[in-house]
């Protein structure tokens, strides 16, 4: 699986075991919330990087206390029009201070990428024959935004102030 991160295609170091029966014995792994609850102690003892993958009906409040353990939080878009993960991403970044990799998985498509980027995702499992091309297209769409999010882009209001 090739992910887009920082404008480049990268391989995923993590095995996504969240949908699997068994968690691999070793190596960086992404687990589901149920797997995390069931195997928390063993997973922490592994000493390998850990990730968690949440469904769109699992708010990040569920893992707020454990965020320090995760290098990756993957949020699902089961259908591209299920917009819950946009709120989850903002909460993770802006409320809970998560600084690890925030990965968009599921039906991740060109036309929604920039919303994902703005809400705090930094890694994208894009469903496309040419994910990098789609990424470059998406990020070039807008140079002005109205709403502040944690992505650091100046809003129109801030740009206006800069002028006066």
């Amino acid at each position: 699986m090739a992910l887009v991160k920082n404008g480049e295609l990268v391989a995923s170091e993590f095995v996504d075991a969240s949908g699997a029966e068994a968690i691999p014995a070793a190596g960086a792994v992404i687990v589901s919330f149920d797997q995390w609850k069931a195997h928390r102690d063993e997973l922490l003892k592994r000493g390998t990087p850990l990730g968690i993958r949440l469904h769109s009906d699992q708010a990040p409040e569920l893992i707020e206390g454990d965020l320090a353990h995760f290098a990756v939080v993957a949020l699902e878009f089961p259908k591209f029009r299920d917009g819950r993960a946009y709120s989850y991403a903002r909460l993770l970044r802006e409320r809970y201070g998560f600084k690890g990799e925030l990965r968009a998985v599921g039906e991740v498509l060109l036309e929604q990428l920039f919303f994902m980027l703005r809400t705090g995702f930094d890694t994208f499992d894009i469903q496309s024959a040419d994910p990098l091309k789609d990424w470059r297209t998406a990020v070039a769409d807008f140079s002005v935004w109205y709403q502040p999010t944690a992505d650091g882009r100046p809003t129109a209001m801030q740009l206006r102030r800069g002028k006066h």
Partner: protein
């Protein structure tokens, strides 16, 4: 009115370019219809019975004459020479071609108009009192807050894929002309005990299959907190709204399911983190936007009521029009003039390209270049000199825009219905036309008094039938069009949902039913009692018997 600065202009142009790309991808097969649908909806483009329909925002109902002229240009060059004003102060064109939409949107962007988020599961056009900034009964012009909300909501990355649509309305007057109680968020401007202007915030109102009156989530909100508080309401909705059933996905469903107290608790919990953060509206931004809504340079004129009274006593038709369609202005010597798009037999809300141009010219000549759109599908010129009313009236008569029926029985709200809309069960426009033909006597209309008839062609209630004094809902009964009547609805500050009168009636019987209801009302009404109040006093029985006869007593 608000003018785009370089940032607003850049934003809308980038949006048009993005949609041009999206249309290209769709036509080339790179996007399926399922993937494309939300994208086109978020630019206002529906697929309807005959062609694509484009819905264009008129933010808080305020239009400049050059924008109206652009609508006329588009009607002539891209549609069939007319447009339709809707119950959300928007404009619709019915015969649009997908491949031409990017060009159309560019034309609109050139005059600072968009279709952005006029549809889709996102925050829709922010609507307001059509007399904002001019009405005597207003606390403050609410449009600065509408404009703040508009900018805040456009392409909000967190809220572009909500469970369902989200509609916000704002009133600056205690006399609610914006139907705020039946919106997802309603904002009612008022003063707290310290005399400070702020908003009562209502949440969870809405029409459609399961109508609800909005509930108060917060009694008084300081304007500086408007954006952060709205964001918290939206966030709780985005995370918790139902996504399993589109008929149960609006905020009104979860507010009523969990109760307003619980919803408030969740909102307040989120808001604690953000209320004093970056969304706090800085005074300088409010001042900047407010400067666009500053009242124009009015002349110092004497009140002309006496002079007008003389003309009125000599011209019955002018008198009728003055009585109904002309409203008192804040500023002496000026008046607010309603242009009726409800001439007998016409489609409510429709206006031809030629008349759009004519209205633009009248706005320039008589009303400082500005036009308002009402949610009852009429237009308004808000700054007319009293001394020019008589002259203006003659011109409006020639244009068939002077029907003196504002707020009366034939000032009907009517959705496009089965003649145009893919969602409809029945045709609504012929009903409106039949009723308007059955009540052409202007003296009778004035004698009958204040009356709203709202017609929807299906349960989606775009015609607001739940909140009409008489509501008419088109239903499909075994392939035939039938019409259910409701009585006693209201969308003002004492909002109520109408009560079902009885079984659906065939199209041919509807005008007669209206006549029977009116006759029954006239029999029992007290002096100066409008229909709604009579209904609330006497109940439904007299009207049930009138329409359905004695058999209904057994039912």
């Amino acid at each position: 009115m608000y003018r785009y600065d370089e940032f607003d202009a850049r934003f809308v142009n980038e949006r048009v370019a993005q949609f041009r790309r999206q249309v290209g991808r769709r036509l080339a097969g790179e996007l399926t219809e399922d993937q494309f649908r939300p994208l086109r909806l978020m630019n206002g483009l529906y697929l309807q019975l005959h062609a694509y329909m484009l819905r264009i925002n008129v933010p808080y109902g305020t239009l400049a004459s050059k924008q109206m002229r652009k609508f006329a240009y588009l009607a002539r060059n891209y549609d069939k020479n007319f447009g339709h004003f809707t119950t959300r102060q928007n404009l619709q064109f019915n015969w649009i071609k997908l491949e031409q939409v990017p060009d159309i949107l560019q034309h609109l962007a050139d005059v600072e108009v968009t279709g952005i988020q006029s549809s889709g599961n996102c925050v829709r056009n922010i609507t307001a009192d059509q007399y904002a900034g001019r009405a005597k009964d207003e606390l403050e012009d609410p449009r600065v807050y509408c404009e703040l909300l508009r900018q805040y909501s456009f392409l909000h990355p967190e809220f572009s894929y909500l469970p369902r649509k989200f509609k916000i309305a704002v009133t600056g007057s205690p006399n609610d002309r914006a139907a705020v109680a039946v919106h997802d968020i309603g904002l009612r401007m008022h003063k707290n005990e310290q005399g400070q202007v702020g908003f009562e915030v209502l949440v969870g109102g809405g029409l459609g299959r399961t109508p609800y009156i909005g509930q108060t989530i917060r009694k008084w909100l300081a304007p500086e907190h408007l954006l952060s508080y709205v964001e918290s309401i939206l966030r709780v909705y985005n995370m918790n709204g139902r996504r399993d059933n589109i008929h149960k996905a609006r905020i009104k469903i979860i507010v009523n399911q969990m109760g307003i107290d619980k919803y408030r608790e969740l909102v307040d919990k989120d808001w604690e983190f953000t209320k004093n953060g970056v969304l706090k509206v800085p005074d300088e931004e409010v001042a900047r936007i407010n400067s666009y809504f500053a009242p124009p340079e009015y002349e110092t004129l004497a009140d002309q009521t006496e002079a007008l009274a003389k003309i009125r006593s000599g011209d019955r038709a002018f008198d009728r029009w003055m009585r109904g369609n002309v409203i008192e202005h804040k500023v002496p010597g000026y008046a607010i003039v309603n242009l009726s798009l409800k001439a007998p037999g016409k489609t409510p809300g429709d206006i031809t390209a030629d008349k759009m141009d004519a209205v633009a010219d009248l706005a320039d000549r008589y009303s400082l270049g500005e036009i308002r759109v009402t949610h009852r599908q009429n237009l308004v010129l808000v700054d007319v000199k009293q001394s020019e009313l008589y002259e203006l009236w003659h011109k409006l008569v020639a244009l068939e825009l002077a029907t003196p029926n504002l707020g009366l029985l034939t000032d009907i709200i009517c959705c496009p219905g089965l003649d145009f809309c893919a969602l409809a069960n029945a045709r609504s426009i012929p009903i409106a036309q039949d009723i308007s033909h059955a009540f052409t006597d202007l003296d009778e209309l004035q004698k009958i008094g204040q009356f709203t008839i709202n017609i929807s062609g299906c349960m989606n209630a775009c015609g607001h039938h739940h909140v009409g004094h008489i509501g008419i809902l088109g239903v499909d009964k075994r392939g035939e069009e039938f019409f259910q009547l409701t009585l006693g609805g209201s969308s003002d500050q004492n909002a109520s949902l109408g009560d079902r009168l009885g079984p659906g009636l065939p199209q041919a019987e509807v005008p007669a039913a209206i006549r029977k209801i009116v006759d029954a009302y006239l029999v029992v009404r007290q002096p100066n009692e409008r229909f709604l109040d009579t209904y609330r006093r006497v109940g439904i029985e007299p009207f049930k018997s009138a329409v359905y006869g004695e058999e209904s007593k057994a039912a």
